[in-house]
Amino acid sequence: MSLDGPEMDEWAALWREEEPSAQDRSVLQRRARRVAWRSTIFQHADVVLAMVLAFCIVAALATRLQPATAAVGVLSAAGLIWSSRKRHRLSQAALLIEIRDRTLVLDHEIGRIEAEHGRATLGVWMTPPLILTGALLTFLLRHDGGFAGFRTMLIESMTSLPAGPAVTAGMLALIYHQVLNAQKLKQQLVQLRAIRGEYRAEGRLDGTVPG
């Protein structure tokens, strides 16, 4: 197809001159050969992992029955299996092979990232109270005197060597990581919405989108 004028033709020729170097091509083709078996493994790894976890819990139940621990373990395994299967289906759907309309593709991607952002934000807000609640419940189970002494116990456990500072630092790092993740997802949403706006604007110019 000849483009408009010699300038465009020259630019098209320049563009098509861009080729991966011999080294890049070798690396790319080597990686492409690994794609097939890696993708199959990774697509099912989380589901397999969840099933292994479920098996371990069942095995633990068979040897030492503790109802509360068993209930938490079974619920965790069930939740993990459900979540990983759902994530797997969503990641497949996210490819949207049959859908070519870019705004539909972006709508789906935005919905997926919004859900992930919601989960990340919930994690940020829920992690500190959950940690505190867990510590409080443990304290109440071990002491008969109600809440008295909880604050002292909490500070001592966070600062006493050797494990206290390490565990405290780990929890803070976890919360920090969750905050960063939520921020990154929010930035991604802003960009996706901007790109969707560009497609809608182009659609209006094409005459395919009303307005």
């Binding site: 197809m1 861009e18 790319l28 492409a32 497949q92 092979i97 790109i195 110019l205």
Partner: protein, 178 residues
């Protein structure tokens, strides 16, 4: 007796591995250039290309041989590049160019000029809005308007209009740079 219409071969019939090998062999340069229009850093571009190969592999069972493999791969590559770009969420970095390699066809100073023009062209393409960027890349790759329409999920007329707007915008950006 009427001849029964045979089903057109799909990716499952041809062998997914063979089709993927064809895609890698025939479309690596196309995928590389599509990735180039989104990512300036060569290392990250290789990652993006690998990501696109993965997406092509997963998508291959949906490929029907009545369509063009090149169009199929281009569509997957562009959609993947868009989501990749938003995941990166940062501006392209300036990348050190390799030294101009001597060309048997052109004197060294002309090679330098040509490489500089190529760099300006690539950076200008990255400055285009994403829909126009897609259109101009497909244009430069030699896709017909009908093929472009299939890849972009729009009408042929819309593909033609979008391509014209992309060319105008690209000319404007290139003129400002020179």
């Amino acid at each position: 007796m009427a001849t029964q219409t045979q089903a057109l071969p799909s990716a499952t019939a041809i062998s997914r591995e063979a089709l993927f090998d064809d895609a890698v062999r025939l479309c690596t340069s196309l995928i590389w250039r599509i990735a180039l229009s989104y990512e300036a850093d060569p290392g990250l571009r290789r990652e993006l290309v690998q990501d696109i190969f993965l997406a092509v592999w997963v998508a291959l069972p949906a490929f029907r041989s009545e369509g063009s493999l090149k169009s199929f791969v281009a569509s997957i590559a562009q959609k993947r590049s868009i989501t990749y770009m938003t995941r990166r969420a940062r501006e392209p970095r300036k990348v050190e160019l390799p030294p101009d390699l001597p060309s048997a066809a052109l004197p060294p100073d002309e090679v330098a000029v040509r490489n500089d023009l190529k760099r300006q062209l690539t950076e200008s393409i990255r400055r285009l809005p994403v829909p126009q960027r897609e259109a101009i890349v497909l244009c430069f790759e030699g896709f017909s308007y009908t093929e472009m329409a299939q890849v972009l999920g729009i009408t042929t007329n819309a593909a033609m209009l979008r391509c014209q707007r992309a060319k105008t915008a690209l000319k404007s950006i290139m003129e400002k740079r020179t």
